[in-house]
């Protein structure tokens, strides 16, 4: 147990539904992330992937079960984890470099030293030229790089990522994925990466976990990804091994995706009917 960076034990999360009653997003999730392991969680939209990640971060408390970090039950925010969000998470009133150094400042590092480190990290993500720009002056990909540097500067032992590249175009996305793998391979941290894109999941991870459609979604399959590293995410998609893995995992996912789609359609119809 102790060699697990992050482990979910029978974790459930239920929310009060707007119309009364409750909505169970995830139920009975058992999931371990070993130290240095890159785990991707895939599942249909609205299956509670983000809920899972928020519980790992300590932003949400599980309704039942327990999240453990390096063997210790998680209480409050997860201090070992860095979190990269799906939506824009940079402080718009801070320049790129001020955003990157924010975490160090919060932890009491002197501004001079924090700035120096931030400069180094901006350079690592290729944004040394843009240190003084504000987030609205940066492109989507650049903002993600800043967010990445902002997280990595704190040297977290666990990295949580919630579809961080889903808003990017495909080319930028593949560049970012390669960069992420580069940075990760330098000092293998434990990664829990959430995505709805199966190809992304296979290309990046050591292990892919498939979630069922919500409500009460839970893991329905685990697939070890034995693809050699280092990988190039654009090229590895063309290898037979990748295609074979993709076929197998998709076989397990397909039914859930269709179920999730049918539910979201049903919900749209129901809410449409209410409006009439």
């Amino acid at each position: 147990m102790s060699d697990c960076a992050l482990s979910f034990a029978a974790v459930s999360a239920a929310f009060a539904a707007p119309g009364g009653g409750r909505y169970t997003a995830v139920a009975g999730v058992d999931l371990d992330v070993a130290q240095g392991e890159f785990v991707c969680v895939v599942g249909p939209t609205g299956c509670g992937k983000s809920t899972l990640l928020n519980m790992a971060a300590g932003l949400l408390q599980p309704s039942a079960g327990q999240v453990r970090v390096f063997g210790q039950p998680l209480d409050g925010l997860n201090r070992h984890a860095g979190y990269m969000f799906q939506a824009d998470s940079l402080m718009p009133w801070k320049s790129a470099i001020d955003n990157v150094m924010a975490g160090l400042i919060f932890r009491g590092t002197s501004p001079v030293e924090a700035r120096e480190q931030a400069r180094y990290w901006l350079q690592r993500v290729g944004l040394a030229q843009h240190a003084d720009r504000y987030p609205h002056q940066l492109s989507g990909g650049m903002k993600k790089r800043v967010a990445l540097a902002q997280m990595l500067i704190l040297d977290p032992r666990i990295i949580l990522m919630d579809e961080p590249f889903s808003a990017l175009d495909i080319q930028t996305r593949q560049l970012m994925e390669n960069e992420l793998l580069d940075l990760w391979s330098a000092d293998r941290k434990s990664v829990l990466f959430i995505t709805h894109d199966l190809e992304e999941a296979i290309a990046l991870s050591d292990r892919v976990v498939v979630l069922s459609a919500g409500p009460a979604s839970h893991p329905i399959g685990e697939f070890a990804i034995g693809l050699p590293r280092p990988r190039d995410v654009a090229e590895i998609r063309l290898t037979p091994h990748f295609v074979e893995l993709h076929g197998r995992i998709w076989g397990a996912m397909k039914e859930e995706v269709l179920k999730g789609y049918a539910q979201s359609q049903g919900m749209a119809r129901a809410s449409g009917g209410r409006h009439e």
């Binding site: 932003l59 925010l77 998470s89 801070k94 924010a102 975490g103 400042i105 919060f106 987030p135």
Partner: protein
């Protein structure tokens, strides 16, 4: 806004705007000089300008203008500070917010200019009563904007700052305050204007100094030209203050993507 073919800009725009001003003065002069409008009620632009010239040449206007501006600045500073403090407090403390809600609504709905006589009784006919009136006008504008600003902080930005290790005070300083300040600055034009209104209305209702007092005096002696001169001086001051605010805003809100109400045509 960059449609340079149809909308004039830069120096040319200034020239056109000046022409409009001259045309308006010309119209005013024409109508009153030809006695279509009685000059006794509508003033005579040339005499109004002469009056303004005399004020500035003799220096008579400076003490009055100074008092009005000091009242404006004090009302603005205290009103903004108070609005910021109360806004932060209520936005971050839900219990206090629900408790205070009906009173805030009532105080905001009340026509506060009517408080001027009460303030005159409480604080006398000096600067104090005008500043108090200005504060009641400025406070609510700033308060509602701060309250809104705190409420509208993106939950993702907030969660991110927390994950980066920000404690309560750091959240306040690095997330809540900057977000609230952007709302405060976007309302700065309105609040400076309101502080000015508070000062002038207060003076008009009872004082011994200030431009509002000058106007009241002139009105008492049916000196309509001096009334107009006072109004023109006040308008020029208001424009200057507004320009100053725009400068400050441009410098402090550099991080915003061309929002706010800095662009005016």
């Amino acid at each position: 806004m960059n449609d340079s073919h149809t909308v004039p800009s830069g120096l040319r725009l200034r020239v056109y705007q000046l022409l409009v001003l001259l045309a308006l003065f010309g119209l005013w002069w024409g109508l009153t000089a030809s006695a279509i409008l009685p000059p006794f009620f509508f003033g005579e632009p040339l005499r109004v300008l002469v009056r303004i010239g005399e004020w500035f040449a003799s220096g008579d206007i400076y003490p009055h203008l100074g008092v009005t501006l000091i009242e404006t600045v004090l009302a603005f500073a205290f009103g903004t500070g108070l609005g910021l403090a109360v806004g932060l407090w209520l936005a971050l403390s839900p219990t206090a917010a629900v408790l205070a809600d009906p009173y805030i609504k009532a105080a905001n709905a009340m026509p506060r200019v009517i408080l001027a006589p009460i303030f005159a009784v409480w604080f006398g006919l000096g600067i104090g009563s005008k500043v108090a009136l200005g504060i009641t006008l400025v406070f609510f504008i700033v308060f509602f904007n701060v309250y809104q600003g705190i409420r509208e902080v993106s939950p993702v930005v907030l969660a991110n700052a927390r994950m980066l290790g920000a404690g309560r005070r750091q959240l306040l300083r690095h997330v809540y305050l900057p977000s609230a300040m952007s709302w405060v600055f976007s309302s700065l034009h309105t609040s400076v204007g309101m502080a000015f209104v508070g000062a002038v209305v207060g003076e008009y209702l009872g004082s011994a100094k200030g431009v509002g007092y000058l106007i009241l005096q002139a009105e008492g002696s049916f000196d309509i030209n001096t009334v107009f001169a006072g109004i023109l001086v006040l308008t020029a001051c208001a424009l200057l203050l507004d320009g100053l605010v725009s400068q400050v805003e441009r410098r402090l809100l550099a991080w915003q993507p061309g929002q706010g109400n800095t662009e005016k045509i």
